[in-house]
């Protein structure tokens, strides 16, 4: 039983259930982009079970969302180590892509999906720090403060890393276009 602002009088089970419903898609989406695979359901489960087991260590200074995403990142890194030898199979489900598809020709839609996939592939080639910041700040649209919390960095470091990662991204993107 924990008594605090986010779980007054709730059992651990109730807390984790609440958090699951609130953050499941954030975790899922993050894991898909982080691992480059849409087959991350097991990882989502692992993240919440780890959160459940570590609930005693959770400090209220951070938001549950950033705490859980930090766990998700660690789980994804572990998973990456396990699958190191395996070839990455990018399977980002872009069917949810909210684009004004009806304004575009089928060819244009295909081209835009292709562009997104290429950009994403470039992001995945970057160093971990750059990639982390781009996924969290760029794709997941998290604030500098939230990103800093998840990555355990200062906000200044997050800003610098993000800017440099964009520079690298531009450079690599230019190379591909040539």
């Amino acid at each position: 039983m924990r008594n605090n602002s986010w779980g007054f009088g709730m059992s651990y089970k109730e807390i984790i259930s609440k958090w699951f419903y609130e953050y499941k898609n954030d975790v899922y989406s993050f894991l898909v982009y982080y691992t480059g695979s849409s087959d991350v359901e097991d990882l989502v489960q692992e993240v919440f079970i780890k959160a459940l087991k570590g609930l005693d260590t959770y400090k209220e200074e951070s938001q549950p969302k950033t705490w859980i995403l930090a766990i998700a990142r660690n789980v994804a890194i572990d998973e990456g180590r396990k699958k190191k030898s395996r070839a990455l199979n990018y399977s980002i489900p872009l069917h949810n892509w909210k684009e004004h598809a009806h304004d575009l020709t089928p060819q244009a839609i295909f081209d835009q999906k292709e562009t997104k996939m290429n950009l994403y592939k470039i992001i995945l080639t970057l160093k971990r720090n750059d990639r982390d910041v781009l996924i969290l700040r760029g794709i997941k649209q998290m604030s500098v403060s939230e990103t800093a919390n998840i990555l355990n960095l200062t906000e200044g470091k997050v800003r610098t890393t993000y800017y440099r990662a964009l520079q690298k991204l531009r450079k690599l993107q230019g190379g591909l276009q040539k």
């Binding site: 651990y12 259930s17 699951f20």
Partner: protein, 349 residues
Amino acid sequence: MTNHDDYTDLEQEMESYPNLKLDEDKMQHIHQSIMEAADQLEHKRKRKNMVKRVNVVLSSAAVLVLIVGLALSYKSVNEQKQGGGMDTDKNELDQDLDEQNPTIQPDKNVAKSFLKQQNYSIESFIGEDSFTLNHDLLMKQPVLSIELQTMGAYYLDNNELVYGSQSLMNKNLTIENYLISGHWREKFVNRAVTKVSVVLLNHEVLGGFTIPSDGESDSEGIWSFHGPATDSIVFADMDMDQITIAEKLFSQKLEKLKSIKRNDAQISKYKIQSIKILNDQAFHGFDFRVEFEVLPAYKDEFVLAGGMEPLNNGWVRNGLSGKVFEVKRGTYVLMSVGGGPVKDIKIAD
């Protein structure tokens, strides 16, 4: 010039990546698995808490039982102390008590119990040291002195803590009636006495028993004789007759020491390279100095207690002025000026 705005297109591109959603069926399945894990964890936590509580309850109960036990034991001892001395054999005891301490009430029951406790210890003590005296005979031996060694170098005299050592110079006193008198009880119980050495008139040393300090018993029990037995004499507080006896005994010992010194083979047997008696005539005030040395290889067998000090060359010297210094087979006993036996020093054969 490059600035942050140059990457707006990239940022917009990234922003347009869809926020992916977990499939509903999979979501339910995952949720169910997490809830099952939560149930298991909850169960484990409850068990752990229960075990903790049980441990706390058991510990508390144990402490309570201990306290009750101690209280009962204390009460029982007090009752015995108040009522048990009525049956004492006055004829024998009063004589001793008058001489020793007229205010002390004898306590035969407790003394008997004590004697019973000691029976095993004494016998085992005798057995260990190849004594041929039987227990009954031993208990009838006249006592030359009973020395109390207290924490520090203090002893009790008429229930007063006095620096030095105490000798109960009563030739008629036997160990048995001394113990039965309850005298020991008044002197030892609840006092800082840590060790008692009993020396018989025929200078056969019974040994001593260690009195627990701070209510803690030693490994051999609350009252345990400890050895090894050896010849030793306590010179403090003697009257002239006793001094004469002691002097006589002591001079015999000195002769014995000298003979050992001359006997190289025997010295070698005991692994003692040399024994020096520096001022063997300095018996004035019962104070003399002995120095002995052992081969460096055996120096570790000497415990550095009291006045023992290591020399630069690896030899060990007794730096104290000793009162009694005797060599027996495999055993040294060193007596310090005012503190009774300092340490039994064993030398391997």
